[in-house]
């Protein structure tokens, strides 16, 4: 006698603790096995691109803050660099150094949320609390510098909104010294935890070739073993002056490109970011952070695509200028947008409980997916 089977469609979200925001996943299941995942997005759509066309160039910066709200500094970074490329503005050295330091601090803060909530998704509560406690120190540094804890509007076209305060260098060094040992603590708590490895190793494997074709970038791509980091491969700002490594997934506890690898790449990147901060913090030259800020931002007619290595992957800004003070088109290539589009391919054939692990390992933020 043969049993008749049929596919079942199950909704996950829009309100669900492990969707990291308002996201609905349509799971096509046969028993517990996932046949397909269809994400439904747009719940947070705020017409960023339409708004941008009605704003002047500097007015768009606060909107970029609100895309990936866990890495606002980096969204500013990519946007202002794109405009500067279009207008061919020379940036003072001091500004470049401060931007890199802020960018790397932001990367650490973003990875902390990614790692903490990932543990939370899989049932480990303690690392989440520890990481949020430490992330608070970075947010305090930002707050002391520009007054905002999450949405900074800190980087301006040609400069910065505020100079760093006199205590910034000392406090940043203190943070670096404080944070380094907590990475070891985190490894003991979560990374090499038997239960955590059982949940993540050999789950959601994405081979290198497929990862490139699916458009995965950042830690997700490097987790698949591709040594590709825009800071090294397509250097922008002053990243070519620093000595750091690109960690890639090696399949230490499972297969290359599984969830654990994507997670572990982020852990290793914490250390690399600390290294960059350590090198940059002692070299900040003197200068005026507003000396190159143009009075009127009016780029020449033309278009530019500029991409930076945001904490979640390749953040690209495609900007078309028609020679007026308003952009004719701003298109954002958000890293999470492309990462989430790949989930159907990655999750195929795994169990329904693994979908949570796979989704968490991709580290998405719905703010930049829906824009």
């Amino acid at each position: 006698m043969s049993l008749r089977t049929e596919e079942m469609v199950l909704n996950m979200g829009p309100q669900h603790p492990s969707t990291h925001g308002v996201l609905r996943l349509e799971l096509v299941l046969e028993g517990e096995v996932v046949h397909d995942v269809k994400p439904h997005i747009g719940y947070l759509h705020r017409c960023f691109e339409k708004h941008a066309e009605a704003m002047t160039y500097p007015q768009v910066i606060p909107y970029t803050d609100r895309m990936d709200y866990l890495a606002s500094m980096y969204n500013n970074f990519g946007y202002v660099e794109a405009i500067e490329k279009l207008m061919e503005i020379e940036i003072p050295e001091r500004v470049e150094y401060i931007r890199v330091i802020m960018g790397e601090l932001q990367r650490i803060a973003s990875h902390m949320v990614a790692l903490g909530t990932y543990g939370l998704d899989l049932g480990a509560f303690t690392p989440f609390l520890y990481l949020f406690r430490d992330r608070e120190k970075i947010l305090t540094l930002f707050e002391e510098t520009c007054g905002a804890r999450l949405l900074y509007n800190y980087m301006w076209v040609g400069g910065l909104s505020h100079d760093i305060h006199p205590d910034f260098v000392r406090k940043t060094k203190e943070f670096v010294d404080y944070f380094r040992p907590t990475i070891i603590e985190l490894n003991e708590l979560l990374t090499y935890n038997k239960i955590f490895i059982e949940r993540t190793a050999n789950i959601g494997i994405c081979p290198a070739k497929e990862a490139i074709n699916l458009g995965l970038t950042g830690p997700n791509l490097r987790g698949s073993g591709v040594k590709f980091d825009l800071r090294k491969n397509d250097p922008y700002s002053i990243y070519d002056r620093f000595d750091f490594e690109i960690p890639v997934g090696e399949g230490l506890v499972g297969t290359v490109g599984d969830c654990w690898d994507r997670y572990y790449v982020r852990i290793l990147e914490l250390e690399q970011s600390l290294r960059i901060i350590e090198q940059a913090i002692d070299q900040i030259p003197d200068g005026d952070v507003k000396s190159a800020v143009p009075r009127r931002v009016k780029p020449p007619k033309g278009h530019v695509y500029h991409r930076v290595e945001a904490p979640k992957g390749e953040l690209g800004y495609f900007i078309i200028s028609d020679g007026t003070v308003n952009p004719a088109r701003v298109k954002v290539r958000a890293p999470s947008f492309v990462s989430l589009s790949a989930i159907g391919e990655i999750a195929k054939g795994y169990l329904i409980a693994d979908v949570v692990a796979i989704l968490g390992s991709l580290d998405i933020v719905l703010g930049e997916i829906d824009r």
Partner: protein, 175 residues
């Protein structure tokens, strides 16, 4: 590594009329303009060719070129007639490390572009977004639905002549 001019020569030799011209006047990046109905074949060629190996689609973006003819009616309302949409493709090769920008131009009244989904799976959602925002039809796309807006939304918001709707689902929208 190949410059955009060299890539243009290679494409021109392979596809003749389907590759229209190279526009290097604009600042920052030169663009190769190609035929919207041949883009899938050109994309496939760009990906598999030994000397090019464009394995990564960085970005795909729909654009309203805002070049239609403006007609002012007697009562002062302005309507735009004609004009074109463009789709920009930003490609990168992770193995050879060179980049190129492609552009297709399609008529606003019948915006049809071949999908590059079979070549780069990264394009699936980008194309859905361009469809959602501009109404550009991607031929042979596996799943061309709205993505950010609700399924029952009227019109295509990023078109330059889009007007904010007064009603949504019969409800008045306050502004």
């Amino acid at each position: 590594m190949k410059s955009p001019e060299e890539i243009f020569e290679i494409l021109k030799a392979e596809f003749q009329d389907a590759v229209v011209e190279i526009d290097s006047e604009l600042p920052v990046e030169p663009i190769i303009i190609v035929d919207p109905l041949a883009i899938n074949k050109i994309a496939q060629f760009l990906r598999v060719n030994e000397d090019l190996q464009f394995d990564s689609l960085m970005n795909l973006s729909g654009v309203d070129d805002a070049n239609g003819e403006k007609i002012t009616e007697e009562d002062g309302t302005v309507t735009i007639k004609g004009g074109t949409f463009s789709v920009y493709y930003h490609l990168h090769s992770t193995t050879i490390d060179h980049k190129v920008v492609l552009r297709v131009i399609t008529d606003k009244n019948k915006p049809e572009v071949e999908s590059v989904d079979p070549v780069w799976k990264a394009s699936t959602w980008h194309e859905r977004e361009a469809y959602d925002m501009y109404g550009i039809i991607f031929l042979n796309h596996p799943d061309l639905r709205r993505i950010l807006l609700p399924d029952d939304w009227d019109g295509y918001p990023l078109r330059k002549d889009y007007e904010n709707p007064e009603y949504y689902d019969g409800m008045k929208v306050p502004y």
